[in-house]
Symmetry: C2
Subunit: 397 residues, 2 copies
């Protein structure tokens, strides 16, 4: 029996009415004769509300207990969806990440999936049931409950699709696919009919929230096509898959992120090894790490999955007296296959930003990306500027 994995984000299950709509869609898919595995996020803003509660009861919440707390969100959503399906006469069963066999490393609040053993999911599919799985969560080899970081439900869905050899992985959210920029920030943003894994990965790593970067990496490794669609229906979608870029050197999208911190540790490499050890101990993934004998070590951190930043900053300041911190930064990135063969795109970004008086605080390039560090408050306007000049001026692809 062909299997489809469908993932519904927080806004798609935000209230009872929406959960009923999702149940209707799942029931239709099931009626088409295909097996259905549904991965759900927590309802609406549940995760943020739980985090806020944790901060009220503890100045420095332990990451293990945070994970225990946050995983309650998907547990509620998945049980409600299973109930709604049963109510429609569709046999359904819900499983936690652990029950679904989502095995992760032990980096609490930002774990990575290392293996999927979906035996119970397979058994229930064979029995004809719709299987509802809690996204964003797993269990470590140490048998502790973990969470996958922001957007982790996407990774759950793709990893399950790979493990189950599913015929499709469909990601439903409140936007109809992947856009060339966040439509809430950039009015001229366009839906992309398709995008390559690499470009999507760079967009996600540069801050686009529509799909999680690790999810795309999983899909790329296993060759699974991802269909990003709106829960509200309609034919519009973006297909993420391998394809030869048709216009190498063109910027396909502009992504941005806020809440970045830049750290420098003075000249020399004295602090380098102990710094990395400390970050590993805390399971902290840096966005950029650089060391250069004359300039010393520098690091960019995102506050996004860093729930104990205040404690970390205090410990770093105590152990590395030469440390200098720049907070309140953000990043804006231009993404496209082949844009870094020459420096043209880098130069154009610098020229455009300087022309409008933006102060560029840092620059980094990777294969398909140019990333610029700016003041956090400047990020949205800079995103609109780069999108207008680099994407909107070009004919649609």
């Amino acid at each position: 029996m062909p299997v489809v994995v469908q993932k519904y984000g927080g806004s798609s299950v935000a209230n009872v009415e929406r959960i009923r709509q999702v149940a209707d869609r799942v029931a239709r898919t099931r009626a088409s004769g295909r097996g259905v595995v549904v991965v759900v996020s927590a309802m609406g803003e549940t995760t943020d509300e739980l985090l806020a509660l944790a901060r009220q009861v503890s100045a420095n919440p332990s990451r293990r207990e945070l994970d225990m707390l946050l995983t309650a969100g998907e547990r509620i959503a998945m049980a409600l969806l299973a109930l709604a399906l049963n109510d429609r006469g569709v046999a359904a069963v819900s499983f936690t990440g652990s029950q679904s066999g989502i095995i992760t490393n032990d980096a609490h609040t930002n774990a990575r999936i290392v293996e999927v053993r979906p035996f119970r999911v397979e058994d229930e599919l064979r029995r004809g049931k719709a299987v509802i799985v809690a996204g964003y969560q797993g269990v470590s080899y140490k048998r502790e409950v973990t969470t996958l970081g922001r957007g982790g439900s996407d990774t759950t869905a793709v990893a399950l699709a790979a493990a189950l050899d599913a015929e499709a992985c469909e990601i439903y959210s409140d936007v109809a696919g992947v856009f060339s920029a966040d439509p809430r920030v950039v009015p001229g943003a366009r839906r992309l009919a398709e995008i390559s894994y690499e470009e999507m990965q760079e967009l996600a790593e540069a801050g686009a929230r529509v799909l999680n970067a690790q999810a795309v990496e999983f899909a790329k490794e296993r060759g699974i096509a991802i269909y990003a669609r709106a829960t509200s229906g309609g034919d519009e979608e973006t297909i993420v898959r391998r394809f030869a870029p048709r216009a190498p050197g063109r910027v396909v999208g502009v992504a941005s992120e806020r809440g970045l911190v830049h750290l420098t540790f003075g000249p020399g490499d004295a602090g380098l090894a102990p710094l990395l050890e400390l970050l590993d101990e805390r399971g902290i993934v840096a966005k950029q790490l650089r060391y250069d004998a004359p300039a010393g070590t520098s690091l960019v951190l995102s506050l996004e999955n860093l729930h104990d930043y205040a404690a970390l900053r205090g410990e770093l300041a105590a152990r590395f007296p030469a440390m200098a911190l720049r907070e309140g930064l953000g990043g804006v990135s231009a993404i496209g296959a082949g844009i870094n063969v020459r420096f043209e795109t880098v130069r154009e970004c610098l020229r455009l930003l300087a022309g409008q008086g933006f102060s560029v605080q840092g620059l980094a390039t990777s294969r398909f990306r140019v990333s610029l560090l700016l003041e956090d408050a400047a990020v949205e306007e800079a995103t609109r500027l780069l999108h207008r000049e680099l994407v909107e001026r070009e004919p649609a692809r």
Copy 2:
């Protein structure tokens, strides 16, 4: 008719005897009923000898004339191979890069293929001829002859395989596949039975010469499997293709490169835009570009495809008085999917190198790579050290 593209490197066509052996192999492939396109490099050290001649007649040879000169090397090899095939009764015809429809950008001595229009190759294949194509060369939109940089014949082969929808792309050299390190430097280096596109790309960009990085990128985009084999025969090979890494987080290989220069331009961003403009004008691709408001701009250049370094250095020093240069550097890199999820591999590299008294001058990471900047003279010993500790200690994969 199924088509095979075979590429033979410089050592495989180093003398008349070896050209005869290649002709025998091509004749056997042709006799199996498949169409054959053969991409050849220049014989042996021809390219280096031509470069040395150019330097004797001109202190600063123009890049356009260098390309005109260097492309003579493949022209000789391809004509000799076509003659040897005709001598065996195999109808064969040779084409230059331009005649084969290899269209490139205009970055002389380090051009990139932008399009392939192999009409003449297809016509001759239909007539049953073996088609011999000059590797490493193309023609720009400005109708100038260009070369593709070191290892560019691989790119010619893969690009042709893609354009011709070939059933295989076979790369023949004097080593039987891709090894976990250069066997001439590291006695314990192992042949890898298969390797993913991404890992191969990182190995190539970090200095492994067995396959060219742009060639692997082309193969990845088009989903073409590359078979790397020894010209001398035998069953051993490495297959480069998409596959799920079986041991994420493990180092699969150690690559090294020599002849690196590290440049810094003082604090502030004053020189950044004019510097990038100058590099683009000269068609120079930097290995690393970084800008950071407090530290300023830094750059790593490889001397490999930089035939007019002395002139460039003079101009940079004149235009950027604050520039500081560190020459005589080299890089050693550990490569493996997932090794940068945590800093463990970075820390292990730093610990191993410090333990043996190596002075690490710089550090950069990308998705699948940790690269360390060292004194050039230390590169080979550091490569052996990292390979012994990170690859040889692990069971073969």
